[in-house]
Symmetry: C2
Subunit: 341 residues, 2 copies
DNA sequence: CTGAAAGCGCTTACAG
DNA sequence: CTGAAAGCGCTTACAG
């Protein structure tokens, strides 16, 4: 089998540049890495690079440096709103800098295998979007000395972490419903989303504080259709006057299901969501929600990882376990209203 | 600066395996690549690999093979529904195979620079999601001999292409509205989405065939809020009885805007979308749309690229410019109805 | 089937 | 500041 495709002109290497500039290969390398090179050779090398259209081979660099310039970004499903937005935040922050993010979707059964494949590629750092339960195990497979930031999930003292303050958001939006006079709030959960730092935990805390017994949470998938079916069932229970859906898309499904069952929102039942999806304000009725700043969380995670890398270069080590809080914001719209008397 | 982080135990290399197994390095390499190795050495090597937890270094492999096992996937914005779903299709198809997809978001001003950075990393193949106008220029920067598949966009005879048959979808959904008795259909465009293979082209064709003059298309962004503003404006024009929105999210915004302006959907105005977004059937009224099979398009693109790679290995060359059609499906729901008399 | 040699494109001590 | 040497972890001819 041919080792190179036939029509391909082989790209210039550092050797070609050195030859054309009349210097040694290490001198070109020093030029590329901003080490001391005389002005005269600088210009000669610059010209040679320009003429040849030379671009350093990142693969060779990675081999000798024993690390790439890639920041691995692991997530369970990049098609979901929060994860996509978070990645966008990472992506935009990375732009133009020395590191480029690289998505690894942990989709299959053998997550450990996928994680190892990723680590084999020698990332300079790692960002884990810990939105889904299957991601939590990943942390035990990550070498301790790999600069790492975790977004969301329970606090893990071993790593830097970006907290989206979900418990606080869940608490506040539940309080909002209680203050409207509702005597109980039904929670509908999204996959994962459990643990002491979750929106569900905030809901439970608010219920406890108000002295009411939180009803059993109802589990839902990511699919709005399933939320609709749940809403339809809830429509038949006159005791339900307030619903806290785990995210906005779930809220949309629940509202539709309640309406299918003849209940009006918010007149008969208040429904709130979470995240502030772009369609949340378009929905009819517009959805009361907690706005999450996923972009900022992504950017913060990127900054954390590159910060750790820089700190390690200078022998500092304290930034490795920092905690950054990205608070949510209660956005009151039309899907929540006073409890019917 | 330390070349390796201190707490790190250096991973085993092929050299370590060879030493432990008592064979030469090339023999281990042959073992790894399924070349002839005696049974006795096979077992010794296998044991050594197992004991050391050895994993071949893909970076070194890439350097010597002059190609990686990565399929570069370029797109403009992976947070958009169609692109995210398409990527998911690619991702799932790739699973377990020898190639892994790798996203490159062409976000910045200097697309050419971004493309070159991607190509520097020596992908084995390339998939371009040609949904946005800025992506079209990319094709001129791609070396002809890089196995490439283009998803959507105008037909480019130089490359394999997966067509989502958007013009056909646009034609059929416009026909649907015309058959309901509407005398004119207003098109609201999404960014990009022009050219002879677009949903807009299908709309124009259907109008032309019906002998009606297509009104000027209205440009919209990806933001549902902007679509809502357009809908609000349209509400004041009694001549508008049918709207074809460039995608479902735009349709939702338009419907909301029409309602803000006092018009009922579909009684006063029919509104249809495109894509079959998961929320399209949840929306009230549920949205008539063209269902697109993005997963299948992604899988087809992956198959095309890996097929080209395999064919090149065997000297075939014909698959390089194949065209695959992934048709859409008209899904009639409640947002479209007979024209008011 | 197998090992010694050479090489992929780069970088980093080591002498000058 | 600069070049000759050695090496990163692999693979592929080349002899045996």
């Amino acid at each position: 089998m041919a080792r190179r495709r036939s029509t391909d002109t082989k790209p210039a290497s550092i050797k070609d540049v050195a030859a054309l500039a009349g210097v040694s290969v290490p001198t070109v390398s020093r030029y590329l890495n901003d080490r001391g090179v005389s002005d005269e050779k600088r210009t000669r090398i610059a010209r040679a690079i320009d003429m040849l259209g030379y671009r350093p081979n990142p693969i060779a660099q990675a081999l000798v440096n024993e690390r790439t310039s890639m920041i691995a970004v692991m997530c369970a499903d990049i098609t979901l709103f929060g994860q996509a937005q978070t990645y966008k935040g990472i992506e935009q922050r990375a732009h133009g800098g020395g590191y480029s993010p690289d998505v690894f979707v942990l989709g299959g059964r053998d997550v450990a295998h996928e994680v190892r494949s990723c680590l084999d590629r020698n990332p300079a750092g790692l960002i884990l979007m810990n939105f889904d339960p299957e991601c939590a195990d990943v942390l035990d497979l990550v070498p301790h000395d790999l600069p790492t930031a975790v977004i969301a999930g329970n606090r893990d003292e071993r790593f830097a972490q970006i907290s989206l303050a979900e418990d606080d958001g869940g608490y506040r939006i539940t309080r909002h419903l209680l203050e409207l006079g509702h005597r109980s709030v039904q929670y509908i959960g999204i996959p994962g989303g459990v643990g002491s730092y979750s929106r569900m935990a905030g809901w439970q805390r608010a219920c406890r504080e108000a002295g009411i017994v939180a009803p059993d949470p109802i589990a839902c998938t990511w699919r709005p259709q399933d939320a609709r079916a749940i809403g339809r069932r809830l429509a038949d229970d006159p005791a339900v006057t307030a619903v806290f859906a785990g995210n906005d898309e779930t809220a949309m499904g629940v509202i539709r299901g309640l309406r299918d069952g003849g209940r009006r929102v918010p007149d008969d039942v208040s429904v709130v969501g979470f995240d502030d999806h772009p369609l949340a304000s378009i929905w009819d009725p517009a959805i009361t929600t907690i706005r999450q700043d996923f972009h900022r969380a992504g950017a913060a995670a990127f900054d954390a990882v590159t910060g750790i890398i820089a700190d390690l270069g200078e022998g500092r080590v304290d930034s490795r376990t920092q905690l950054v809080e990205v608070p949510g914001e209660l956005v009151i719209r039309q899907s929540s209203g006073p409890a019917a008397r």
